[in-house]
Each structure stands twice: as structure tokens, then as C-alpha cells.
Symmetry: C2
Subunit: 161 residues, 2 copies
């Protein structure tokens, strides 16, 4: 099963290496990982997406909690939450394909962030399915390069107080 | 000096742990890191932002190139490139602050992705300065939570053929 795990850590040398080592040591590949500072510059948040056996993930979560630099671990699996990632996609653009590419950009509420005589660089955000959908539509034009951030997640707010 | 380094790797257990270990072993903290699959699911791209002595970074780059799972290393430092990150920001929202929050969202071309009677969750993308600017403007309303992806980078296209 797919798991999205959020880990709050104190910014110290080696914490990323130790955490990713916990996953690889148990044979889990990390599908995506994002880490950046929070409002407090000595604290960072990691969002890890991995697939694997629920029991083993539970064990990894427990071990994460035991690490000295780990402040909090939260597994979003089975919980209402928002997931988003950002992708930059560079596609081949000719004068003939321009209108069609721009209409795809429009439909997905994406943005063109760089243009050259032969290419467009498109910035898009969304969940996994949306990124996959726009990538599929742009693929026929020729994708020169794609760079993705990996997913981040946040719990949905309660609709009732 | 700040460095943004892009590393193309083959998706195997332990590669993330080995790469982050190279940085921490030399006393470098990783400011942000993003890793996600490329179009080829057995290849991932990592974007690492770190600060430090240029000569040591050069050594790290050389060592990265020697790792078996590393396909390509590129340091964007001093080169025309696009940098972007994505942030989800949950702010306290009252009926009184609603109009002001929404006008900030508008100015930054951000999006409201979740609403509750007491909060707004805002999705925004940009370079470091833009994310810092919207965070500063939203801070007086009360930021409940912020999650960021870390930066990704792409070379700018040549304007002339």
C-alpha cells in the first residue's frame, strides 16, 4: 500500500541520511521525498511517499519516532488530506503547435514560465493524477525534460467546528 | 555560497541515503531536497540546495559522479535557470479577514485549496523570494501550518537558435 508520511525533524547533519537509511535498510524504495525548512529555520519537514507492507511501515514509523532528531511523525494513509506536487515540463514548441499547447496549459490552470523559439517550459501543480494527465497530453509534442518536486501533504480542515 | 545541484540517479535502495551521507559527512547541511521519478520510472531526479565553500562542493560533485547509481550531476550555480517550489500554507481565517486574505491570494496568483469555518489553505508556487513574500503577508493572520516542497530547477532555454 502507498503511504505518505510527514516527518518533522531538527536540522542537523546526517538526519536525512539516517532517515532514508531506515527505509532502504528494510528494502523500501522512496517514491518521492521533499524536505524544506518550516517557519522555524532549525526545524525541517520531510514528506516521504513509499509503497510497502503496512506492518513494516508501522515498524519504520516507530523507529523514526525513536531517532533523536525526529520531533514528530505522521502517516496520512487512510486520512482526509490534500496532496500536491509541482512539475516543470519543457516541451518542444513549433509555431504550429503553439495554440494547442497553450490551450492545454489553460485547461490545467498551468503557467508558461519560459519560452524559446523551439520550446515552452510549463509549471503545473496538482495531485499525482493531474500531473500524469497533463504529462500525457503534452507527450505527443515532445517532452524534452521534466523535473518534479515530489509530493507534500496537509490534513484537510474539519468542516464543522 | 548557495548551490542548486541536480542529480539524476537510478532508483535503487540506498542511493538517497548514500548521497545525503556525502553532504553530511563533510559537514554540509542540505537546505532543501526534492526527489521524484522522471518519465522513466527507474530513473529519479534529485534537486539539492546547500550552502558552503565552493571548493568543497566541487569535491562533493566529483564524488557524486563516482557513485554507481548516479547518472548525471549538474550544478546550476552561476547559470541562467528557473527555480520553483510549492508551498501549502494554512492560515486562520475569520469572516473579517476573508477579503484581505483573498486579495493577497489574488496578487500572488495563488489558489485556495481548502476552506473551513476557521481556516484557509493556500497553494502557492514561486522562487524563494516570492514564497517568503506571501508568507510575510499572511503571517499577521496567523499561520497554523506551512509545508514546502523544496526547490526544483531547470536551465533556461536559449533565446536564439
Amino acid at each position: 500500500m502507498r503511504h505518505t508520511i510527514s516527518v518533522l525533524v531538527s536540522n542537523e547533519f546526517g538526519v536525512l541520511s539516517r532517515i532514508s537509511g531506515l527505509f532502504s535498510g528494510r528494502g523500501f524504495n522512496i517514491e518521492s521525498l521533499s524536505v524544506a525548512e518550516t517557519l522555524d529555520p532549525i526545524v525541517s519537514r520531510m514528506t516521504i511517499v513509499t509503497r510497502g507492507d503496512d506492518k513494516v511501515i508501522e515498524q519504520i514509523n516507530k523507529q523514526l519516532n525513536k531517532l533523536i532528531n525526529v520531533i514528530k511523525v505522521h502517516d496520512f494513509t487512510g486520512e482526509e488530506h490534500i496532496e500536491r506536487e509541482l512539475a516543470l515540463i519543457k516541451v518542444t514548441g513549433t509555431p504550429e503547435s503553439r495554440a494547442e499547447i497553450l490551450s492545454i496549459v489553460d485547461i490545467f490552470r498551468a503557467k508558461v514560465v519560459d519560452v524559446s523559439p523551439r520550446s515552452y517550459t510549463i509549471e503545473t501543480t496538482g495531485d499525482e493524477e493531474k500531473i500524469a494527465a497533463i504529462t500525457e497530453l503534452l507527450r505527443p509534442f515532445g517532452i524534452k525534460e521534466i523535473v518534479r518536486t515530489g509530493k507534500i501533504a496537509m490534513a484537510r480542515s474539519l468542516k464543522q467546528k
